[in-house]
């Protein structure tokens, strides 16, 4: 595993999690847990979400079934020859807040990006017993090593904003919003005051 070559002691206590999440796993996770994700996820960011919304407004189906899936907010840099993907760290999540409750109503169960979510998104996470995770912003080169397969499954013309399917291995992230209504950023703030 390429990661070990660089950082042997890093995140030794990552809780290994298989994707897609099962309801039991989701319920067991708590805000502040450090996880290592394994399996398949979908990606999308601003343009991807605008297109999702346009399709839904026209009564059309989304290009992939998001039910039970993890949607990762990322716009990767292009892969160099021989690479699976370029840098692929998270983008800031609040820009997707407008769209997230609707997607969760359709079955999307978890999202991953960086930064705080709006109150309606947090309510949707609690209502659907879902999750929001933060990946590590500005660690795009490192995180590219945790992505072992990458393919564009829709919106190829959107370039970095295309909908990708990634297979990840030991992809590190922190649980920010858990299914029980906790928000780790708020917990950190409260601890300080």
């Amino acid at each position: 595993m390429s990661l070990l070559r660089y950082t042997p002691d890093l995140f030794g206590d990552l809780k290994s999690i298989d994707l897609p999440f099962t309801p039991d796993v989701i319920i067991s996770l708590k805000a502040g847990d450090l996880v290592g994700l394994n399996g398949y996820l979908y990606t999308g960011r601003d343009q991807t979400h605008r297109r999702f919304e346009a399709l839904l407004d026209e009564g059309k189906a989304l290009p992939v079934d998001l039910k039970g899936q993890l949607l990762y907010y990322v716009g990767p840099s292009p892969a160099q020859p021989g690479q699976v993907i370029g840098a692929a760290g998270p983008t800031t999540s609040y820009r997707m807040d407008k769209y997230t409750p609707r997607l969760m109503d359709l079955g999307l169960i978890a999202t991953m990006g960086k930064g705080m979510r709006s109150i309606p998104v947090r309510e949707a996470i609690t209502k659907h017993k879902g999750l929001y995770l933060a990946a590590f912003g500005g660690a795009g080169a490192y995180l590219s090593k945790c992505i072992v397969e990458a393919e564009v499954v829709a919106f190829e013309d959107a370039g970095p904003e295309a909908l990708f399917r990634f297979k990840v291995e030991n992809f590190p992230a922190v649980v920010i919003n858990d299914a029980h209504g906790n928000d780790y950023y708020e917990m950190v703030k409260k601890k300080q005051n």
Binding site: L10, A79, A88, P160, V188
Partner: protein, 278 residues
């Protein structure tokens, strides 16, 4: 009069663009190492370790430090005794475009209305200064927008005073929370006019990280603001600890007697910049 060929500028900017995306300057790396060594939160120390590892991978394998390879902000100081053979603006833009294409960097620039990507990461935002001498200094700051979006500007009444300025800067950074990828560098433009303050805030990010302003009262204010931000405990990526800000850089400029503009430009921990001299 010294003559510089436009294509020489293009070639240099192309290389500079790729280097900036993949190689942190030593002062930034040193600041991350120092933060790791004095970090109080175990989780945040681990994240800092990850960021240092990220810089190592990026530099050795020429993978961008961050997939957001930014909008290119270019500060050009042109010696008044230099003549550019060709069109300077086009040479700079071509260098940026070639760097993004050849370096496998993400092209993130789009039309503000249609949101259609320009496909080249140009136009770069270019600022020119004419200075004495016969050299061309080009500073490149590829600016990621997670942090750029958290920036802000206020036109304070002079009665707000020093405390008003401190409060504005500290609250802006604290409200931004984890969004701009802390630990951040906080660039502050103080005084001038509406646009001058914003430009100074951006320009202050070119200063070697943590180098105090030569004016002692300004240097003290930089330290005070940094301390107040870090005492709020938001920490690396908002996960807690004592490093929300690596440095505060303030650039002052005299303002109108009725006015006190304060601009804050936030820079993420992946603080990328490169300077070349032609």
């Amino acid at each position: 009069m010294r003559i510089v060929q436009a294509d020489e500028i293009t070639k240099a900017v192309r290389a500079q663009t790729i280097d900036a995306a993949t190689d942190l300057e030593p002062d930034i790396l040193d600041a991350l190492l120092a933060a790791r060594d004095s970090e109080t939160s175990p989780l945040s120390r681990n994240v800092l370790e990850l960021l240092i590892s990220n810089a190592d991978i990026a530099s050795r394998e020429k993978i961008p430090l961050c997939q957001d390879t930014g909008v290119s902000v270019v500060f050009v100081e042109i010696g008044q005794d230099v003549h550019v053979e060709g069109i300077l603006e086009e040479a700079l833009q071509a260098g940026v475009a070639q760097g993004y294409e050849d370096g496998y960097l993400r092209k993130s620039v789009c039309d503000p209305l249609t949101r259609v990507n320009t496909g080249t990461n140009t136009p770069a935002v270019i600022h020119y200064d004419i200075v004495p001498g016969d050299e061309i200094h080009i500073s490149l700051l590829p600016k990621g927008c997670g942090s750029e979006n958290m920036s802000g500007l206020t036109m304070l009444p002079p009665s707000a005073g020093i405390q008003g300025m401190i409060d504005f800067v500290v609250e802006l950074v604290v409200q931004a929370g984890p969004n701009p990828c802390p630990p951040v560098t906080v660039g502050v433009g103080m005084g001038g006019t509406f646009e001058k303050a914003a430009l100074l805030a951006k320009k202050s990010l070119l200063r070697p990280l943590g180098q105090p302003h030569p004016r002692e009262d300004i240097a003290q204010l930089e330290q005070q603001i940094k301390q107040e931000i870090n005492e709020r405990g938001m920490g690396v990526h908002g996960l807690g600890g004592n490093h929300t800000s690596l440095a505060v850089h303030i650039e002052p400029f005299p303002s109108h007697i009725a006015s006190l503009p304060v601009a804050v430009n936030i820079q993420c921990h992946a603080h990328r910049y490169k300077k070349i001299i032609l």
